[in-house]
């Protein structure tokens, strides 16, 4: 226990977490500090490209082992099914309408790439290796949850629109294409490719992540300020209970598949994290009646900081304890 706490403590005083805290505080204090939209988008492109590329290189180096396909399939199934769990929890814990609950559920079945990146960075800092293809699992988990949410609404007789072109749009979403594309470029060019561009995608990575998290903190803080009274205590409880529950499922799945400790932690983080970039945009198209303030507050305002600060070290400690690693 004290080990977990010291781990969490060490995690909390990293530049990454403190940058997020700075953004959060600045926004809550109504500072006019902002990061231009183009710069924020540029950093997110950089992070997706770098993480995808490094994942691909790792696969090219260690080869494709048999758990790769299992992991991808598991990711797919998890992304399809976690929303059902989330939906159930939401109906039990909150008074949200079917549509709002389904929309929130979509976010929790999908993933937050930044949380994934932060977890990778914690693993790297502790010299714990992980399967390179976990980044492909992350990509696979982005979209299916949205379809589950639409199905949940349809089942309840709600007016979810399975718009023509929506599935296509989900699969060809910019972040997925970039992540998967960079993964393949990394897998094809391998160590040689990495050597070519590591001064760009490896060395400054953590620093860029700091500024990106500063921005995330600013957005989360602004969102929290806007959303006073929008979410109930029960909803906040959900936003902490759900990642914990999902992480346990991720733990079980990861062990079943036979992932390394690092891989298990990343699988837990993928399950536990909630999308706040791709899914919100999809929801505006597919479930416009759902209230954005609710799902953004929960996923970006509560679950994201929870995972970033306490979740990741906790998942790591649990994974290490359980696997004896």
């Amino acid at each position: 226990m004290s080990e977990i706490l010291s781990l969490a403590g060490a995690n909390l005083i990293s530049p990454i977490i403190l940058s997020f805290a700075l953004g959060l505080i600045a926004a809550l204090a109504r500072s006019d500090l902002t990061i231009p939209e183009a710069v924020a988008k540029g950093m997110s492109i950089y992070l997706l490209f770098a993480i995808g590329f490094k994942g691909g290189v790792a696969v090219s180096a260690h080869g494709i082992d048999q758990t790769l396909v299992l992991s991808l399939v598991a990711g797919l199934i998890l992304s399809f099914t976690l929303p059902v769990l989330a939906f159930g929890l939401l109906r039990a814990m909150t008074g949200l309408s079917t549509i709002d609950a389904a929309a929130v559920a979509a976010h929790y079945g999908s993933v937050s790439i930044v949380t994934f990146v932060a977890a990778t960075s914690v693993l790297n800092g502790r010299m714990i290796s992980s399967e390179g293809y976990m980044v492909a699992v992350a990509a696979v988990m982005e979209a299916p949850a949205i379809l589950s949410a639409l199905w949940l609404v349809a089942r309840s007789g709600g007016g979810a629109r399975m718009e023509p072109g929506l599935i296509r749009e989900l699969l060809l979403n910019g972040s997925i294409v970039l992540l998967v594309g960079a993964f393949f470029i990394g897998a094809i060019t391998g160590e040689q490719g990495l050597a070519d561009i590591s001064a760009f995608i490896v060395a400054p990575f953590k620093g860029v992540l700091c500024l990106f998290l500063l921005d995330m903190g600013l957005i989360a803080g602004r969102g929290l300020r806007q959303s006073k009274g929008v979410v109930s205590l029960g909803a906040v409880g959900f936003a902490i209970a759900m990642p914990l529950a999902s992480a346990m499922i991720g733990l079980g799945v990861g062990m079943l598949i036979g992932l390394s400790v690092g891989g298990i932690v990343l699988m837990m983080v993928l399950c536990a994290s909630a999308s706040y970039i791709a899914v919100p945009a999809a929801m505006r198209v597919a479930l416009p009646e759902a209230n954005p303030a609710v799902y953004l507050t929960l996923s970006l305002g509560v679950t994201f900081p929870f995972n970033l600060t306490l979740g990741i070290p906790l998942y790591l400690a649990i994974a290490q304890t359980v696997t004896g690693g």
Partner: protein, 102 residues
């Protein structure tokens, strides 16, 4: 300089719906449109800003100049898209050069 009567339709709509709206405009037979960025704003659904956003968040302003006789059909097409969504539509009387373009 010879000018011609036209209508200027401006639609502030959520960015994720931009393509759906412009597709609807094209189907309704408009000959052109322009999309202008919006930095931020406020409305019934609260205040927002584009600052620091990474996803397709916020609103855009789609401007469309059309012949007056097309207005009604166009508004129907627009309304079908914005109906359930966040957004405002305004129409002003305008005059344009080169009527053959509209």
């Amino acid at each position: 300089m010879q000018t011609h009567i036209a209508k200027r339709v401006e639609i502030v709509i959520e960015a994720p719906l931009e393509r759906r709206l412009t597709d609807a405009l094209t189907e309704a037979g408009v000959t052109g449109y322009s999309v202008l960025p919006v930095l931020g704003g406020s409305g019934r659904s609260g205040q927002w800003t584009r600052d620091g956003q990474v996803g397709r968040a916020g609103m855009v302003n789609v401007v469309c100049l059309i012949k007056p006789e097309r207005l009604d059909g166009l508004l129907d097409a627009i309304f079908a898209v914005v109906k359930k969504h966040i957004g405002v539509v305004s129409v002003t009387d305008a005059q344009v050069l080169r009527a053959e373009r509209f």
